[in-house]
Each structure stands twice: as C-alpha cells, then as structure tokens.
C-alpha cells in the first residue's frame, strides 16, 4: 500500500494522491529520505560577515548552528550538546567566541570542538571520556553557490553542483546579474502556517495560475488593477525544471518587480538591463524581475523581482514554519536596497498584501484531508500535459506556457524518487 502511494503512479496522467499531505508515516519518511539527505539552504554568506558570526536554522526538524570559523570558512553543526542534548546556542543570530551549554557548562569552540567542561577533574578520571569524540556533530557536507550556503547530512549526497545541475544556469539570473554579487538585507521574519510544507513549495515551483485569482486584491492595492492574464497566445512563458528544482517565468522583465509599487526599483532594473544582458544574455536578462516563481528542491523558494527568499520548514505533516529574507544586489544604491526591503515586506511577509491570501488557502487545502472519504479523492494536476519542448537556449525539462502543472508534477516526481530510494545511488539522475 505504502509503496503504491509513494510511486504516485497516476502523476503523469495528472493525478495526485492526497495522502502525501496528511499521513504521519509519509512525513517521517520525508524527514529521513528528503531532509536528512538533500542539500538544504542554510544561510546567505552575508549573514555571517566575520569570524564568530553565527545563526541557527533548521534542516528538517534538526536544529542547526551555522558559524563563520576563525579561518573564514563556514561550519554547521547540530545545535545539541552531546552530554545531555540541550541546545548550546539559544539565540537565532549574533556573534560569539564559542558556545556554552547552559545545563552543565560544556563549552565548544567555533570549530565545534569540545573546549572545556565544568568539574573537569571528575571527567578526567573516566577512561570513556574522550574530549575529541565529544564535539558538536557537524553536517556531512557544506558548500556554497554564489553566496548561498547549502548543507547536507548525507555523506553520500552528490556534490552541490551536481545536485543543482543545470539549474545553476537559472539561479544565476538572481545570483549573478551584477558583478558585486548579492546579500541579504538585514533581519528575517518567521511565521507559522498550519499547512503541509509541500503545498507551499509546489506553489512557488509552478503555480502562476493562482496569482491572478488569489492575489487579485493585492494587485489592486499595489498596481491599481488586477493581475494581467498569463495564458494569452502572445505570452512567451515557460515552466522549466532540473532534478526537481523548478522555475516558472515569462519574459516581461519587470512584472513581479512592478508589484512593489516603487519607481526606484523599476528604474534600477531598466537602467541595468544592458548590464544584465552582458552577463546573462538577452533571454535570461528578461527574467531578472519578471512574473515568475522558484522552488529549489525541496523547500527553498524565492520570487525574482519581489526578491523574497524563504524556506518552508516542516513541523509535522500539517504545520510549516516560514522563514523569509530579502535578497539585494550588494552594489545596488542604498536607497534601492531599502526600497526592496520595504517592498518585499509590503507584498510578501505575514502582513504583505499578497502573502496574506496564501496562508488561508494552504491551511484549508491541508485540513480538508482529515476526512477519510475526502482523502480518497485524487487531486487534479493535469495542466500542460503536452507542452514539453526542446529549447535552443534553456537547459533542463522545458515546457511552454506558464499556466501549467508541469513543474508541480516534476516536484512530486522527484519527491517520489527520493522517498523510494534507499540510498543516493538508487536515485535516478
């Protein structure tokens, strides 16, 4: 039964089993085979400006401490003392010379090594006490891609560049459109949604369809009109995906950015169009602020143009913690960065005029599945069944048309592959 569910046999025909959003054992398997195995976004390098800078975050339900070490490298460790398990860092961010557990005073340096213990003479008499084996547990691998820091708990996971594959070509639209690279504007905001994490992730993976309907009132507030239709014959738009990473977009250049309602942002994008083109080529330059949305598998999403970056942290099958940040080009004028920080919050934050309508939909779409009979009804994911194309410039699986379920199907196909594979070797490449 479970194998049958995980195989998602009807997915290619456009159907999804609702149990993927509800069952506790499916969720536990996700923690093991997706969150304890995939490369997960943990930080932007700009959040760790100097030795001792740290932040805490989640990899699945494991709490992780991410640190800039003295040699400038970045480390990530389980935020749990190997003595009795207490957190060794209780702040969400800051600067420290090391970390001391509040319970029994065990202290750890920035490399995660056990530096000292309270009542050390007593421990020193124990033959089983080996300081070198009692440091904080590091992640298995950590790597960066153009400012973004990723980590995985799986030593057998492929290198980050292979995990991202050709999706790096698309990520460069946001991460490498300017010579100075990117940074996160200050701070972060976190909220909770009583929804399954995948409902949020698949929305960013491909759901251009909802924008014009769900967000009609937000568009009214920011643009003075509704969202324009996206499925007209003259609209050049795509769903693309690589290894379950998904980007849906059109080529209007500034459609998303315009919703921030700040002239300085549009002026910045227009003034830099030639430079974007020089770095990215004419096609990708038109993606920089266009109507689009992205999910890096499994739970790291962003919106080009609005520049909101976020993770959907799983807190049980029916609860998600949403962490958000704002990405800006490091060399952009301060007033432009500030406009983005404000605009992203005005549109996509818990008080944002767009985001406000999403949570309600996702919570009720999750909660409906409590009904055993409701749960038997499959959900329709059939849009764009014959839209696959070869494109001379765009790598990965490319589908024509933004109003499409192709990316959502690709997201769940990857989900299925990972849940069914016992090891990374068994995951289809």
């Amino acid at each position: 039964m479970k194998d049958d569910l995980l195989a998602l046999r009807d997915l290619d025909d456009g159907w999804l089993d609702r149990r993927v959003f509800w069952d506790r054992d499916v969720y536990e398997l996700e923690l093991e085979r997706i969150f304890a195995r995939c490369w997960l976004f943990v930080a932007h390098e700009s959040q760790l400006p100097k030795p001792g800078s740290f932040l805490t975050t989640w990899m699945g339900e494991d709490h992780v401490l991410v640190v800039r070490r003295r040699d400038g490298s970045i480390g990530a460790y389980l935020n749990s003392c190997p003595h009795r398990g207490n957190r060794v860092c209780t702040a969400e961010a800051g600067t420290a010379r090391g970390f001391v557990c509040n319970y029994h005073g065990w202290s750890f340096d920035l490399d995660g090594r056990l530096a000292g213990v309270h009542e050390s003479a007593a421990f020193g008499r124990e033959p089983t006490f080996d300081r070198s084996k009692l440091g904080l547990t590091p992640v298995a691998q950590l790597d960066t891609y153009k400012g973004l820091v990723f980590a995985t708990f799986d030593p057998d996971a492929p290198p980050l560049r292979d995990f991202l594959g050709d999706f790096a070509f698309y990520l460069d639209v946001m991460l490498d459109n300017d010579e100075g690279g990117t940074e996160f504007a200050g701070g972060s905001i976190t909220s909770v949604l009583d929804c399954n994490w995948k409902i949020a992730a698949e929305n960013f993976a491909g759901d251009a369809l909802h924008a014009g309907w769900t967000h009609a009132s937000g568009a009214e507030a920011m643009l003075g009109r509704g969202v324009a239709g996206l499925s007209g014959d003259d609209t050049e738009s795509y769903h693309v995906n690589v290894n379950g990473h998904c980007w849906e977009f059109n080529l209007d250049g500034v459609g998303n950015a315009a919703t921030l309602g700040d002239r300085r942002i549009i002026d910045y994008l227009r003034a830099n169009e030639a430079r974007f083109t020089e770095r990215l080529g004419p096609l990708r330059a038109k993606m920089v602020g266009s109507i689009s949305s992205v999910n890096v598998f499994p739970n790291f999403s962003f919106l080009p143009g609005q520049n909101t970056f976020r993770t959907w942290q799983p807190k049980g099958p029916h609860r998600t913690e949403l962490h958000t940040w704002v990405l800006v080009n490091r060399d952009a004028p301060e007033e432009v960065k500030d406009a983005w920080r404000k605009g992203a919050m005005m549109t996509f934050s818990p008080s944002g005029v767009f985001e406000m309508d999403d949570g309600e939909n996702w919570e009720l779409a999750t909660r409906a599945n409590q009904g055993v009979v409701t749960r038997r009804q499959r959900l329709y994911y059939g849009l764009g069944s014959d839209t696959a194309i070869e494109h001379p410039e765009l790598p990965g699986n490319v589908h024509r048309g933004q109003v499409n379920d192709a990316n959502q199907r690709a997201f769940y196909r990857r989900w299925s592959e990972l849940l069914r594979a016992g090891t990374w070797d068994e995951v289809p490449s």
Partner: protein
C-alpha cells in the same frame, strides 16, 4: 505630568481607535493619522542580551514600515471585494491597556506608551493571539483633536504565532 483631562482624552482616543479596527472601519482609522505619519512594526529577532545589534533595528525587515500612502494601499486590499481571505470577516478584538502619557519633544505633541493584545477568531475554529508594546507620538491638530504622527509597534513574538497579520495594531 500631564493633566487628568489629557490622560482621559488619550485613553478615549485609543479605545475609539481600537473599536474602529474591530469594526473594520479602515478609512476612518486612516483619518486618525497625520499626513506625515510613520507606522513601524519591526521584525523581532531572538538575540542575546549582549548582542549590540539589538532585537530590532530600522535597517532590518519589518512587518510594517509605512507612510500614510503605504497604509492606504493596505486598506485598499482589505476593502477590495476580491480579498477572498477576508470573507467571512475575521473577528478581531483589540485590547489596549497600561496607557502612559507625557509631553512630547515638540510642543503640541504627546508621547503615549501602551500595551495591546489582539485576539482574533477566524473562519470556524481558527484563533490567534498577538501582543506587544506601542509607543505613539500624538499631535494636537487645529480642530483641537489628536492625530497619530508616529507609531512604533514592538511585537513580543520572534516567531509570529499566526499565518498572517490581517489587521493593524
């Protein structure tokens, strides 16, 4: 020390304001602000006592960092017939307490501190409770009444225990 009369006036003003929000009378609520008003509700971070960065700062992300025009935009969304999530209406309750009034830095202005709790019932079973401290600058205007020239809202939550903030504080 402000007069008993002024304190009473401020208390009545804040209670009236809270009722306008409970009753979703947003255009009237906007009328309580000066044209140059700034409404700021910074994001609150869970940082250590010795952290010089502090738990909130103007340079960091904020739930609201609004001019009056920004607030008007939010009201446009609340009052749009297409704001699906607002129908049925959320049942909001704004409780304002611990009011302290003193003269402001500028003549004709008052510095008013208060605490608030925002309870909400939504849909059938959804509920949320948000709370924090406020610091207002109220300005005396020519018609003799008070207007909000500046408001700082500091929530007591690092992780917002709700899916959204579909009201004002």
């Amino acid at each position: 020390m402000t007069s008993l009369e002024t304190h009473f006036e401020v208390q009545a003003f804040l209670a009236y304001e809270a009722r306008l929000l409970d009753e979703e009378r947003y255009p009237e609520w906007l009328g309580l602000f000066t044209e140059d008003a700034h409404y700021w509700a910074p994001g609150v971070e869970n940082r250590g006592r010795s952290d010089k960065e502090g738990t909130y700062a103007p340079s960091r992300m904020a739930y609201f960092d609004d001019t009056l025009d920004d607030l008007r935009r939010r009201v446009t969304r609340f009052t749009a017939p297409t704001a699906w999530a607002e129908d049925p209406a959320t049942r909001h309750l704004h409780v304002v307490s611990n009011i302290e009034v003193e003269d402001g830095e500028t003549a004709g202005e008052l510095l008013v501190r208060s605490v608030f709790v925002n309870y909400r019932g939504q849909g059938d079973v959804d509920a949320a409770t948000l709370y924090g401290r406020r610091e207002d600058v109220l300005r005396r205007v020519p018609d003799g009444g008070l207007r909000i020239a500046r408001r700082l809202v500091v929530l007591r939550h690092a992780v917002l225990p709700a899916k959204n903030i579909n009201t004002f504080f």
